[in-house]
Every structure is written in C-alpha cells, then in structure tokens.
C-alpha cells in the first residue's frame, strides 16, 4: 500500500466515497416493475367497485328502513280514528239487542214514555228514547218476542218489593213491604213483559 498524508487522504477518500455513493444512487434509479403498478391499479379499481357496491346496498337498506318507518308512522296516525269506530260498532248490539231478550223487548217498548197511558210515539221520538229505555227496562220471564210492538203499552204502578222480586226485578227481597214505583210493559191481555224501576 502507498503512504499518503492521512488528512488529505481522508478528505480525498470522503469525496470518492460520496462520488461512489452518488454513482450507486444513479445506477439504481429504478422503480418498481410495471407489473406491480398494474396489479395495484387493478386492486384500486376492485376496492372502489366493492366500496361503491357496499354504499349502494347500504343506501338501499337505509331507504327501505325509512320507507318502513314512514309506513308504520302513517298506520299509527290513522289508528286513533279507527278505534272509536270499532268501539261504536261494538256498542251498537247492546243498544239494539239481537241476542239478549231484554234488549229486544226494550226495542219494542222504546216508543212508550214513562206514563201509565198507552201512547204511540213518533218514529223520531222513538229513536231518541230507544237508548235510554234500553238501559232501564228489564225483560221478565213472560216476555214473548213474537208480540208486535204496537200491542204493547206501559203502565206505571206502585208495587211491593216482594212482588217485584218474584217477577225477577232487581230489588232486594229484604225490602219487605216497601213499595216501589215501576213502569211495566204489558201486552193487551195484561201479561207483564218488562219492568223499569222509577224510584
């Protein structure tokens, strides 16, 4: 090996090394092969295609949820009007009785006011009194639904509690001799069909 001045040799060698490193940098000025870039471009397209698909599906699902919610809300907003209608429909059979015999009787007795005189009410008055009457009259065991309504009349009488109880009227048998004012629906032959307590 040659003898050289250490300091100047060091500087010289530094320069040479720097130069050599620069040469190495230049010689390796290469990038990744084209296949890597192509593969990445494909991966990019695939990734975003999948993302778009997922986004579309989630948007569709969201729209379906919103539609479902809107449907449910509109159903709820309608339901408050429907419930009373149903209630009315359910109540109607109790007003115009088809099943219970006492109600049928009441319907026939409805035209009669609470007076011991036979009266024929006008149809409008009959309709208006029907509900009130149906709530008050009670059918008695002798009721015959075949009897036409125009053959009935209402008679107001004072009756002992015991007699009313025997007829099936809603009075306590303990009331004894106490007398009650009551309206009776009677047929032409005097058979009592229904009773209503006035007092």
């Amino acid at each position: 090996m040659r003898e050289i001045d250490p300091q100047s040799g060091d500087l010289k060698s530094d320069d040479r090394l720097t130069e050599a490193l620069r040469g190495l940098a230049v010689s390796s000025r290469q990038g990744a092969p084209a296949e890597v870039g192509a593969g990445l471009a494909t991966a990019f397209r695939r990734h975003h295609a999948r993302r778009r698909l997922v986004r579309r599906i989630s948007m569709a699902a969201l729209a379906a949820c919103i539609a479902l919610l809107a449907g449910l809300m509109s159903l709820r907003s309608r339901s408050p009007h429907q419930v009373p209608t149903r209630q009315i429909v359910k109540e109607q059979p109790s007003v115009i009785p088809a099943k219970a015999p006492q109600d049928v009787t009441v319907a026939k007795a409805a035209p009669t006011p609470a007076r011991p005189v036979k009266r024929h009410l006008k149809p409008k008055a009959a309709n208006s009194n029907l509900a009130a009457a149906s709530r008050q009259f009670l059918a008695l065991p002798g009721y015959d639904p075949a009897v036409p309504a125009d053959e009935l009349r209402v008679v107001r009488v004072q009756v002992p509690a015991s007699a009313l109880w025997q007829m099936g009227a809603p009075v306590s048998p303990d009331s004894g001799a106490r007398k009650f004012m009551a309206d009776f629906v009677v047929s032409q032959d005097g058979t009592p069909y229904a009773v209503r307590l006035v007092q």
């Binding site: 060698s13 190495l24 390796s28 000025r29 471009a41």
Partner: protein, 195 residues
C-alpha cells in the same frame, strides 16, 4: 421527492373518492423512492416489490390513516415501507449483520487509504459499494439509503427515523467510515481471489 403537501392531500382526497388518476399520480411520485429504499435496505428485488405493493395497498385500503399534521405524505409512506421492510427481512432472514470487527473504525490504515477505489472499474466499485451498504447495521444502512442514495435532508430523515437531524448526521458519518473499511476489506479479498 417531496411535492407540495397540499397537492398530496388533494390527491389523497381524490384517491379516497375512487379517482384512479389521483392514485396513479401518487404511485408514480412515490413508488420509485420507496422501491429503492426497500431494495437498498434488503438487497432483494422481491422484497422491494413486496414492500412497494404492500405500502400502496395499505394506502388504497386506508387512505385516512395518514394525518397531515404529522408530516408530509412521503414520510408517512416511507415509515410504512421501513416497518414492512424490517418485518420482511426478519421473516426471510435477509438481514446481514455486520461483523463485529467492521464496527471498529479506528483502523486508520484502512480508512485513509481509499485510493484503491480508483483502481476499480466503475461496475466493480458499484457492486462492492452495494454489498458494503447491505453489510451495514440497519440504523446506519437507513441513513445511507435515505440521505446518500435518496438525497433526503437530515431533517426529513430525522422525522422519518424519529430522531434529531444531528443524530442523522452522526450516524451518517459513522456509516461512511464503516463503508470505507468495508470497501477496503472487500477489495483486499477481491485482490486475493484475482491472484
């Protein structure tokens, strides 16, 4: 390498929207330095390709992983490349640890006598140098790859390596001393082989 960070951010935003041109622009901008960094670190083209592919695949899958306030996009990508290269090298045992004797740079006889380089052909010199760089310990190889081969500033390299610019300069100085020693050893063994 360092383009306007604003432009990088805009490209990244477009990339997130699925703009392929934005992706291609970013790829063309950074693939070369990242590939070379991985190549200089590993000495293996397959590893360099794998790292480059992985870096950009991560960018495609999670472009929001980059936080602009933490530094330029280039540093972020280099950081990923650095970690991936380490991992791949550990996995494939490609890391060539430098021999202990080479770490001793006090052998003035070798360090001052680099005239021998002038006696080598250009291709021989480059080949020896490449081997010498690969034989450096990782922390020295990193600074040589970044500052000498990719011409990154000490500040950028320090930000990437999470150390101060002064540390980068110090490591680089030591790395060069090691390189000289290594080159002489390679050259001596080469001469022996020729004889």
């Amino acid at each position: 390498m360092a383009d306007s960070p604003v432009e990088d951010q805009e490209l990244l935003r477009q990339l997130g929207k699925g703009n392929e041109t934005a992706f291609t622009t970013l790829y063309e901008r950074y693939q070369g330095p990242i590939y070379r960094f991985a190549l200089h670190m590993s000495g293996n083209t397959a590893t360099a390709e794998e790292v480059t592919q992985e870096v950009f695949t991560l960018l495609i899958g999670n472009h929001k992983g980059y936080e602009a306030d933490k530094g330029p996009l280039g540093n972020y990508l280099f950081g990923i490349a650095r970690n991936l290269t380490r991992r791949v090298m550990q996995r494939s045992r490609l890391d060539l640890p430098i021999e202990e004797e080479w770490l001793d740079t006090g052998e003035a006889g070798f360090t001052s006598d680099l005239d021998v380089l002038s006696e080598l052909s250009n291709s021989e010199l480059l080949e020896f140098l490449r081997k010498a760089v690969l034989a450096l310990p990782e922390q020295y190889r990193e600074v040589v790859a970044l500052c000498d081969l990719e011409e990154m500033s000490y500040g950028d390299a320090g930000a990437l390596l999470e150390c101060s610019p002064g540390t980068v300069a110090s490591r680089l100085h030591r790395a060069r001393a090691m390189l000289k020693t290594k080159l002489l050893k390679i050259r001596l063994s080469f001469q022996k082989c020729v004889k």
